[in-house]
Point group: C2
Chain length 755, copies 2
């Protein structure tokens, strides 16, 4: 029985239409004027030999962005976005990625730098390629599309035992059929996606060729033509042909075989396909799409998927001679004038109709159908293809280089606008985005285990680590968390070790708390619920409380929790010490929400201006919160004799809140370098005492420049927080921002080569 | 200025009335017939030399229970209860603690065993005491009451700098005044608390002495009379006098000085009191109260506290000659006939009135006033004193030994009734009570950090460990917890490592979940909310679901959570593997709530009978839950053609629930020894894979005796639970109970000497 019948008979279509998808995208680093960058690969990318996501291809300036395989195209595109973000934010400020497959302004052959890596074999291989093809041709970039069926699909087919061949055999045959048919109709994708109509003369003088659909896919492009020498009719022939190309020294190594479709297995040599089967198929014929910031749009990915499924699903099964015919048609198509109808328009439309029909049969969904219809539309309207659109722009008002600069810079801007977000993963909390950014940059393998839960898995040279909410890791014990979660317990442990903590008691009955008035009435006190964190239910008595007020404050606190604390009130400024791996990495002072006058604007206007800053936005998604204009703020202004409409003097500072939380619009001010070392030492000792690797300690310190001493401790520990916020340290209102997410990675991977 | 004035002027009464309280209680292990036990100290108490709570005093059979100092008398009494529980449950089944100060039936001198410890010096010391006083006298037991003011009180007084003397000096003077006045009026406490009117003739023939208030406090009792030789007028004299007693060999060691009040410092020798000050005072004159299971009631503790405060608060300050007078009056009082009025009745009442007045002035509260009034009442009614009550009982219908046996056995029963609770700490969850029991038994220092939070701190030979909820410890990492809390992540990690987990997907949108129907419709499935644990929102389709039912089940699940799981349904019995420290310590099968017929009772009656079992009670406070008779149970019966009134056949089993949760009345059945080893190995591997030290793994295993193999794994992992329940393994319906709390301690302290 054939595969299609088995799928249909067993209703396995839902498994057939799943897959794993990955993109490899090459791109040239380009300087502000459109020249090939002469700078080295940024050292911030860490160890080059291990980097799974950002590689250099032929040249030092030729980046290759590699997404890990994802089980949906949406995720694959998210990853492609994220990697572009990482690259855009890591390469020098004045560089950008060239948006076209055909190169930017190239120097002389001799000045094109081959990659500078440690592995001499890699350098030698590229030297040979340079001799054989010329360095310049190596600078043509493109997109590779990797696809595989899921193991679940393979298992489901296999367990039916309705195929004559064994597992690896039928898998190889399936991918071979996909390849043969792909080759036969590949020209359609070149018609649709071709986006290299012209070239800069430093690479190729295209003026004589005339505008094309895809120079890269043409005889002028960078492709070896050995596909004709490789049979796709059986795995044995496929392997033997490639091995022969190496044996007769047509190719230096098997990996030099650049057929538009390659079968990939578990190991490096093709021979193991026999025993291990094809793992995935690699399609290499796609031009960079200069209009998409990622060089290949989500919609393009969808179309290729539908196309590939159809190539297997269709009854038609082409042979090697058809493969050759397809290769010829593709070469023809690539040199057609973009504005012309395709010579094979009718076949193109017919195949797209077949793809549509297949997509309907397989229930791929409307997203697919829409993009297929658009592809059909393009066969009727060649002036709307990518290559035509590029020609429109070049023809009208700008040169190839101008257009490349414009598009490339615009795409980079897409990343730079929000420095604290990781494109593709904006739904996660900012701290998790920052952490993932750092991991991707360093080449630590990253997996999003659960985006809703801010749950990441890392793997660096086989060492796995898991992180939740940015800094919850295996380094902290379960119980340290609970110690910190319980304010009374934390205080008790610290007091036992002679750290200065506020005096006070915990009560779980109103009566007992009332009895404590005997003691409470003699001092300034704070009454608060035991376990809330946001200032709710708290009353501060800076003066000794009256019995009536005390009673009321108890009621207020007991409304929020079964247990309350009555604590000594400590006067002084409160600082947040971020301690990581027994070291204070940042100290922050938080100033309550405020505006500073300019003598012209009203308070309302000043707030609006302050809120427009890109740092201020949604909770957990931006470093700072916007100042709200609610009742509390109005009341606070009233107490100062103001309203929102008051115009305040130049340099006059008006506070809108009593509390200093960042979440209510407060300003973070970094004082890491100003804080006296003695307090940092104390914070580090406390973290050790609590046996916690990541904590945010809140200390009240009346004078941060006056050292702590035995006689005058000079501080009081108010709280120890687990999972402390990192964002507010990274993007501060004043002082130096601290990249704490990188410190988290350094803790998890002390040996990772850091910049 | 004097202390009282400073307290009054600065309103420091609330600090003066705080304190730390501890009890040391001696008691003889007694066999079922009232004879001194000849068995060895139970090895379950672990290392004897380190045990902070359960010591042996003179004899191998003479236990000393020592509470750690507590900051309230309530807590002190709770501890005393808990230690009695531990002792009662640890000593041989047929032994109990003798309730009287005067001994049980003693063997010949030679047959009274001196303690069997490793330290030869301790044995030698007791041999000398035996020679000097006779072994029998050493068998008289009593209660020591330790009291200290708080450091906070000391600091508050000190910082006023209104005393002429330095800190250690005034502290010593304060405790010396307390001691002098205590000695002077000590007889009052002997009148009230005296409870050794007679003795068994094997210790002392008391028939000639006649009934007394307190033989123990009399010349016949065990007290050395060297108090007269020790001055309490200054610390220098106090120290010198005790040192002289040793120098002139009246005493072997300083610790042999058994004055009714001793000043205790940081070290062992009295000399250091000069430089370090008195830390606490030890009062040694109290008889065991045979009517209180703990040998000394909470009310007695209150009275002593009020008494001690008054001894400092009163302006009167006695001198050494008054101390001597007091000692004489005490000797006189102790030999008075219990039924007689006190010779010093008027003085007694006057002092008690002073204590009452002081208590009012210091606002000690009604509890104190009530007990003081009762004490005054006893001066008017000597026939109601403890010694009279004992004489009543002995006179009427039973002998001293009979009464001792009766009371001692009754007191033991107090502990034995609820084998799974720790008296004094019943408010905590059962698992925490069990753990604390084990720690106290082994002599691991224990602190209840937060009873509401089930938070304990342990310390064994300086190594601190914290435990929350019975098995949340420093051994587990923060992130392992979160991995287990996220079912999708757990499954993903296990699947990646090739463990058998149910297939399925997570969805956070209804639409996506509906699209999955294409796959879901092809199998038996379970639909459940991602994060609830109690079976709420779950639908099981043992048959392939219809689209309509599937849709409804999605709605049902989404009501409970933003994310839901659609999983393959796996047929077979579910087992809970409790894995601790990489070892399967227990395997449990849970059977849904059920009753088995006897041919006579209705289902309702059978449920009532089953519910009466002491194992069944309140959630987290008893090992098993009671079966309820609600709608679900009624429905379940109806489906089987029954009602609650049905009388079912003998041995017929009727289920009242579909789910097997213990919390809904299910039966735990231990199958640890029946489960095939291959599954235990798998469970241990999984725990290692998840890097978790304590986990409850739920596996579905159709045949637990059929080994797991590569071809036929034979199991599916359904869930990995952090903080798994321990109670249900300890008290099972069938099979062997497993004491998992002890295993938790073994994990934390691998070197603790275990029984």
């Amino acid at each position: 029985m054939n595969l299609k019948k088995i799928i249909k008979n067993n209703n396995l279509e839902p498994y057939f239409t799943k897959g794993y998808f990955g993109i490899e995208k090459e791109g040239l680093r380009t300087d502000a004027s459109g020249y090939l960058s002469q700078t080295n690969h940024p050292s911030a990318f860490g160890s080059r030999s291990h980097h799974p996501y950002v590689q250099t291809d032929f040249s030092e300036a030729q980046l290759e962005l590699v997404t890990p395989p994802q089980d949906t195209l949406k995720l694959q595109y998210q990853w492609l976005k994220a990697l572009h973000d990482v690259v855009n934010k890591t390469i020098p400020e004045d560089e950008f990625l060239w948006p076209f497959s055909m190169a930017n302004i190239l120097p002389e052959e001799a000045d094109i730098p081959i990659i500078k890596v440690k592995e001499q074999s890699e350098i030698d291989y590229r030297k040979k390629l340079a001799e054989k093809y010329g360095k310049k041709k190596q600078m043509i970039s493109g997109v590779h599309y990797n696809f595989s069926f899921t193991a679940e699909f393979i298992d489901k087919i296999n367990e039916k035992k309705q195929l004559d061949s064994d597992k690896n055999e039928w898998i190889n045959n399936m991918y071979l059929k996909m390849s043969r048919n792909f080759f036969r109709y590949q020209w359609i994708l070149t018609y649709l996606f071709g986006a290299s109509p012209v070239s800069h003369p430093t690479l190729l003088d295209s003026s004589e060729i005339g505008p094309a659909r895809s120079l890269r896919n043409s005889a002028y492009g960078y492709h070896n033509t050995f596909s004709e020498n490789v049979s796709y009719e059986s795995i044995e022939n496929y392997i033997k042909d490639i091995e022969d190309l190496v044996k007769n020294e047509t190719l230096y190594e098997e990996r030099e075989y650049y057929g538009s479709s390659r079968l990939r297995g578990a190991g490096k040599n093709v021979r193991q396909l026999v025993n291990n089967g094809t793992r995935y198929i690699e399609l290499r014929s796609f031009d960079l799409n200069p209009f998409d910031p990622m060089g290949f749009s989500y919609e393009q990915s969808l179309l290729v998927h539908a196309y590939l499924l159809t190539m297997v699903w269709m009854d038609e099964d082409n042979r090697d001679e058809d493969v050759k015919k397809g290769i010829e048609m593709n070469a023809e198509t690539s040199l057609e004038n973009p504005y012309d109808y395709s010579k094979y328009k009718e076949e193109g439309i017919a195949i797209l109709e077949k793809i549509k029909e297949t997509s309907q049969e397989l229930k791929l969904g409307n997203e697919y159908l829409t993009i297929i219809d658009e592809a059909i539309h393009l066969f009727h309207n060649p002036e709307e293809t990518l290559s035509s659109k590029i020609m429109d722009m070049i023809g009208h008002d700008q040169s190839y280089v101008e257009l490349g600069n414009e598009l490339g810079k615009k795409h980079k801007q897409f990343s730079m606008q929000k420095p604290f977000l990781l494109s593709g993963f904006e739904s996660m909390e900012m701290s998790t985005q920052l952490l993932m950014f750092d991991a991707l940059q360093l080449g630590i393998k990253t997996e999003v285990l659960d985006a809703n839960d801010q749950f990441l898995a890392f793997n660096y040279k086989g060492k796995k680590e898991y992180v939740r909410n940015g800094n919850m890791t295996s380094k902290d014990s379960y119980i340290s968390h609970w110690i910190m979660a319980n304010k009374t317990v934390t205080k008790k442990l610290l007091r036992d070790k002679n750290y200065s903590v506020p005096g006070g008691s915990e009560f779980s009955s109103f009566e007992e708390a009332m009895e404590y008035y005997a003691i409470a009435s003699k001092q300034s006190i704070v009454i608060k619920p035991k376990s809330t964190n946001y200032g709710i239910g708290i009353t501060i008595f800076k003066q000794k409380p009256s019995k009536e007020d005390y009673k009321e404050a108890l009621h207020f606190a007991f409304k929020e929790d079964d247990s309350i604390l009555v604590e000594e009130y400590i006067e002084g400024a409160e600082y947040r010490f971020f301690v990581l791996n027994e070291k204070v990495e940042a100290v922050l002072f938080r100033e309550p929400a405020n505006v500073v006058g300019d003598g012209k604007h009203t308070i309302k206007e000043l707030i609006d201006i302050k809120n427009q800053h890109p740092y201020r936005g949604e909770k957990h998604r931006a470093p700072l919160a916007r100042i709200t204009m609610g009742e509390l703020e109005a009341l606070m202004l009233k107490e100062q004799g103001h309203t929102f409409e008051t115009v305040i003097d130049k340099d006059e500072k008006v506070y809108l809140r009593e509390n200093s939380n960042i979440s209510t619009g407060g300003d973070p001010i970094d004082v890491t370098d100003e804080m006296h070392a003695s307090y940092k030492t104390i914070a580090e000792e406390i973290a050790r005492e609590l046996e916690v690797k990541v904590t945010g300690l809140d200390l009240i310190i009346p004078d941060m420049q006056e050292p702590s001493s035995k006689e005058n401790k000079g501080y009081t520990v108010i709280e120890a927080n687990f999972n402390p916020a990192m964002n507010m340290h990274a993007y501060v209102e004043k002082g130096k921002g601290r990249r704490l997410s990188m410190k988290v990675l350094e803790m998890l991977y002390p040996n990772v080569k850091l910049s």
